[in-house]
Symmetry: C2
DNA sequence: TTCGCGGTAAAACAATCGTTTAATACTAGC
DNA sequence: GCTAGTATTAAACGATTGTTTTACCGCGAA
C-alpha cells in the first residue's frame, strides 16, 4: 500500500464515520481532513470533489448492506417463513445496533438520505434498499399465502421496515425521550435479543391478520 | 395590524413552510425573506437572529400539536381503549397527511429535529412529544390491563409511534421507493382511511400479544 | 413645520464553505 | 545521482452564510 492509498483510506474511514453521524451536508471537508490527518486539498486531489468522496463511501455502504442481506438470506434458507422473518429482524437489528465495531454509519447515511437526499439517493434506493424489500416481501407473501403484488404485502413490509428503522435510530430517539421523561430506560440493557423478538412477534401478529384492511 | 406585524407574520409563515420542508440548518435567511417579500435584515430586526425566528415557529408548532392532541383526547372520550387507539391513529395521520391546508410543516420540523437536532429539540420533546406518549401509553396500558410502567407499554407505544411517523414521511419514502420500483403505487390513492385502519389493526394485533417477549 | 421613532432598504461585515493554485517533498526508473 | 511524476502542503480564491451598519421612509406628536 503506497502512501497515497494510506491517506485515501484514512479519508474514507473518517468520512464514513462523519457522514454516517451527521449526513453529507453538515460534514465539512476540513472536518474530514482534520480527523484523517490530511491536508484540506487531499479530498479534491484523491476524489475530485466532496461528492466524489461521498460516492466512494456510499459504494462501500452498499456493498456491506448487500452482503448483509445475502447473509440473512443464506442464514434463513430452508426455514419456514415466520422463522425467516424472525431471523431477518434479528440480523438487521444486530447490524444496526451491534456495538462499536458495527456498521452503524451505513444506516446513518441511509437515514440522513431519507430526510435530506443527495444525488446518491436513487442509487441507494436501487442497490441497497430494493434487495431488502424484495426479500422481506417474499417472506410476507408466503405467510399470507398470496402473491407479492398484494397490497397487504407492501404494507406489511413497510410495517416491519418502519419498526426496525425506528430502532436503528435508537440513540437519537432515546435522547429525545429522555428530554421528556428523564428516567427513560435503556432499551438495550438486556442486549438486543429481547427487542428483536418483540419486533418480530409484534410484526407477525399484524401480518397474520387476513381480514381485508378496509373499514374497522 | 400594523405594517410591522404584517411582515412579521409573513416571515413566520414563510419560515414555517421552509423549516418544515428542509429543516433549520438548510434554510437560509435570504430564502425566507425572499419568500416573505421582506428585506434580509428583517429577520434580525424582528426576531434578533435566525434562531429567534425558529423559536417562534416552534412555539406555534407546539401549540398546534398540543391542541391536536387535546382534540384527539376529547374525540375519543368514553370510547373503549381499542377504539380510542383507532381514533388516535386516524387523527394523527390526518394531521400528517391531510392535504394542502394541513399542518404538515409541523411534523416536518419534528422529523428534521430527529435527524439534525437544534437547541430547540429538548423543548419539543417536553412540550410536544410527551403529551402524545402519555396519552398513547395510557391507551395501551388499558388494553394490556397492566400499569403504564410495564415495558410492553413502552414498546407498544414505540411501535405505533414508529409506524405513524413512517407514513408521516410518505412523500420522501415514495420517492425512494420509486427509485427502486418505478411503478410503486400511491398509498393514498383511496384516501388515508384504509391506511389508518391498517395501521390501527396491525398495531392492535401486536399489542394484544400477552406472551412475555423473551425467547421466540 | 419639525422632531422623534419604528420600520424598511441597500450595502457591507466577518466567518465559513468547497475548491484551486503554486510551490515543495517524496519516490521510482534510468 | 538525476529526472519525471506523484503526493503533500500552505495559502488563497470566490461564493455563500448570518449578521450589522447606515441611511432613508412614513407618520403621529409637539
Amino acid at each position: 500500500m503506497t502512501r497515497d492509498a494510506a491517506t485515501r483510506d484514512r479519508l474514507i474511514t473518517a468520512a464514513s464515520r462523519l457522514f454516517g453521524k451527521e449526513g453529507y451536508r453538515r460534514v465539512t471537508v476540513r472536518e474530514i481532513c482534520r480527523e484523517a490527518k490530511a491536508n484540506v486539498a487531499a479530498v479534491n486531489y484523491h476524489f475530485g470533489d466532496k461528492l466524489g468522496l461521498y460516492r466512494e463511501v456510499v459504494d462501500q455502504a452498499i456493498a456491506v448492506i448487500r452482503s448483509g442481506a445475502a447473509a440473512a438470506r443464506e442464514g434463513g434458507a430452508g426455514l419456514p417463513a415466520e422463522d425467516r422473518l424472525r431471523h431477518y429482524v434479528h440480523a438487521w437489528l444486530t447490524q444496526l445496533l451491534g456495538g462499536a465495531d458495527t456498521h452503524a454509519w451505513i444506516h446513518g447515511i441511509m437515514s440522513h438520505e431519507m430526510s435530506e437526499p443527495t444525488p446518491q439517493a436513487p442509487r441507494i434506493g436501487r442497490e441497497a434498499i430494493r434487495p431488502r424489500i424484495e426479500y422481506l416481501s417474499a417472506i410476507i407473501a408466503e405467510i399470507l399465502e398470496c402473491p407479492v403484488t398484494d397490497p397487504r404485502v407492501r404494507r406489511g413490509t413497510m410495517a416491519v421496515q418502519s419498526h426496525c428503522l425506528w430502532y436503528g435510530r435508537l440513540p437519537r430517539i432515546q435522547a429525545f425521550a429522555r428530554a421528556a421523561f428523564p428516567d427513560w430506560p435503556n432499551e438495550l440493557a438486556d442486549g438486543l435479543a429481547p427487542l428483536a423478538d418483540y419486533i418480530a412477534e409484534f410484526s407477525l401478529a399484524g401480518i397474520r391478520l387476513r381480514t381485508p384492511t378496509v373499514g374497522g
